[in-house]
Symmetry: C2
Subunit: 269 residues, 2 copies
């Protein structure tokens, strides 16, 4: 399975630039790693263009798939194609209105720089009913926090520096508080000289130790005329000590069984 | 809108490593760029873990959203968690059976290296009914091509070198043949000294020139104490000459209107 954690989390990344390949989706990797470390199971990611109906569809889909937490990035700025907030409102038929708290945040940002409020700037303070703004310590567009039933949604900007700062400062503390107390342990090893198809039955055997264990193999090409595999061993559960023990046991067993195949093995971390 | 092209294409990337943030989804960017250049409109990407039901859900979802082309990457190898082919079969209730053509490809790969066929290796030749294998010039797992109604699906491996080689050699020629004759032109410029919220109404005005035109602004931070924006101007349509003319006109208009705001402008390409 390969996913640690308790509650299901979904990531929605908004932006046509991700789909036409102009920008690599690093926000997904960053958010996925943070959510996993916090004990959430990142169950899927939807990448959608700057099209209102597509964004609304993504939020609805994440909810209908059982997300307890949804994090979006992208589409919060002042331009005509920043449509994520409107998409969220459309998804759940929520009214949009000027949010005084958000307006205060936006006004303060521009006043500091000597700019006044314009229509494009005020747009960033129009939020769906029931939501609250998340301050942006780096840029100008506030994020949005909305709880719908049991599901918490956080809309963050697409600029990585803004997204990361807001997640760390405002989203992570809440996710820690409400989240499952689940730990995640990972180790990696590199295996030379054994093709993936020969490692497959060995991995299958080692996995029988525990349901909390997961091993994934990544073929790394065979530039040296011999196969190179990276094995990624992870475990998740409630006790860090037991997990360390479990992963150690799995590594020993892999070392033993792969050595029988005359593999050379390098432990990475 | 920001998406060029005629037929809708969807990308499905399979792999828990993408969701726990261990691997950045570069396959999405590469496939998105290639499909866009071929004249397809990449309408969305679904990132799912190595869970059979989730993979099946992704294929079904892409189809139900109107995809004419679906490209997947990941989950084609010999290990227990390579489940993409089974997921495709499950999505559309197709029977899985040993494909003789695929078996020939797999056997040849291993015989060249002096290995024999094992259960894990034969697994890579079990395909859904109606599909055909795509040769893998770099690795061992064949890809899968399946046409369902009007929709063409191509399943490719997750290892970037294998995926790219197979797309270029076997997928792209077919997509070129059946695809719309639509061109895509792009240019970029960097704008210093004008905040995004002030550029927004200017962009809106320039966009009125044509429906085929799209301009997206990416704030690049303000390390120098001044705002920096990257503007990405794209156009798509049937005549390359008209598109070049259109983008040129948009750039001239942006230069004129942004200069009035005392911006410094750098044309990137």
């Amino acid at each position: 399975m390969g996913l640690a954690g308790g509650f299901d989390a979904w990531i929605v990344t908004v932006g046509s630039e991700l789909l036409i390949g102009r920008v690599v989706n690093t926000n997904l990797a960053w958010l996925g790693a943070r959510l996993t470390l916090l004990g959430y199971k990142v169950r899927g990611c939807l990448v959608v263009p700057d099209i209102l109906d597509d964004i609304a569809w993504a939020f609805k889909t994440a909810l209908s798939r059982g997300a307890r937490v949804v994090i979006s990035s992208g589409g919060l700025g002042p331009t005509f194609d920043d449509k994520t907030v409107e998409g969220l409102a459309k998804a759940f038929s929520l009214k949009l209105a000027l949010n005084e708290e958000a307006l205060k945040l936006v006004r303060k940002k521009y006043e500091e720089k000597g700019y006044s409020l314009t229509e494009s700037r005020v747009k960033m303070a129009i939020l769906p009913e029931g939501s609250s703004p998340i301050p942006n310590p780096v840029g100008t567009a506030p994020g949005v926090r909305l709880k719908l039933g049991e599901t918490l949604m956080f809309l963050l900007p697409g600029v990585p520096a803004e997204m990361k700062a807001m997640f760390s400062k405002y989203v992570e503390p809440e996710l820690k508080r409400i989240g499952p107390q689940i730990f995640f342990v990972e180790r990696s090893m590199r295996v030379y000289g054994v093709p993936e198809s020969e490692a497959a039955p060995i991995i299958k055997r080692v996995l029988k130790i525990s349901d909390n264990l997961y091993i994934k193999s990544h073929p790394k090409g065979s530039e040296l005329g011999e196969p190179v595999l990276e094995l990624h061993i992870t475990a998740s559960g409630k006790s860090r000590e037991l997990l360390e023990e479990l992963v150690g046991k799995a590594i020993n067993m892999l070392l033993e069984l792969l050595s029988e195949k005359e593999a050379r093995i390098e432990i990475l971390k």
